[in-house]
Symmetry: C2
Subunit: 148 residues, 2 copies
Amino acid sequence: MNTETDRVVDTFELKKAGLKATLPRLRILEILEKGGDRHMSAEDVYRALLEVGEDVGLATIYRVLTQFETAGIVERHNFDGSHAVFEIARGPHHDHMVCLDTGEVVEFFDEEIERRQRDIVEAHGFDLQDHSLVLYVRRKKEAGDGRR
Amino acid sequence: MNTETDRVVDTFELKKAGLKATLPRLRILEILEKGGDRHMSAEDVYRALLEVGEDVGLATIYRVLTQFETAGIVERHNFDGSHAVFEIARGPHHDHMVCLDTGEVVEFFDEEIERRQRDIVEAHGFDLQDHSLVLYVRRKKEAGDGRR
DNA sequence: ATGAATGCAAAAACTTTGCATGACG
DNA sequence: CGTCATGCAAAGTTTTTGCATTCAT
């Protein structure tokens, strides 16, 4: 709840990014914020909006998500090569593990890994700009289980 | 050189994978082995073959690369979300750093990172099946440089 | 009012697939 | 020879773009 305040905050966030506070953009932001799903594809956002009765063109979703990414409002990930997913860029940096069976996504952060990455890149004469770490996992089988 | 021996080895590798040693498959394997480029897209392979006078259909390249991946002969990577690149799966595991300016790809391996990944996954009750780590970098600016 | 944003449909980029023909074992 | 592989073109996916219309400021 507290949609009132949120809308104001969102409007401010958009303007700060030099984007007009249009209805589609506010709606997309809302979905990304409150959506049960922290990692949604453009299509996911599109359908979520339809369910709420808002009919925003898929092209707009793509355009807006790309603008949000540029503005640092969302992060784009490519867990599989086939399609991108987006998540609100709130909170500190983290990486992801994706369950190959269920698609479940778990976020994690490890200072050790972060530091090693910086060191390695440095040692090669580069500056680290960004990185993408995805661990593909399966839930550990309990003894005498694994059946489905 | 030593094309003779290589061809025999390749033929064996294909048969071992349950694939007929056809001309297109042998050619694609050759390109991936000797190509100056260790990380090629399907299109790259296609054009490399054309330059050698071999006209293999792009569809075949895709099919064969996918079969090779399944057979463990090549690895598929998605450095950017837009298109896949393939590399011969020779030698030990390694990760990649990609230069955002030049596209240059540098391979590296870090036992520390590998270990942390396994530990983290374990701690969450999962088994690590695979992972993808890509560091996006830029060559470090030398003092009073950066111009191009 | 005016430049920015949207929607629609068309196009683009990458990859897969159906089917007739051709090659490997 | 039988089966698997190839080539071509057509279809599939995901994402982008052109253009007329609508909206925010």
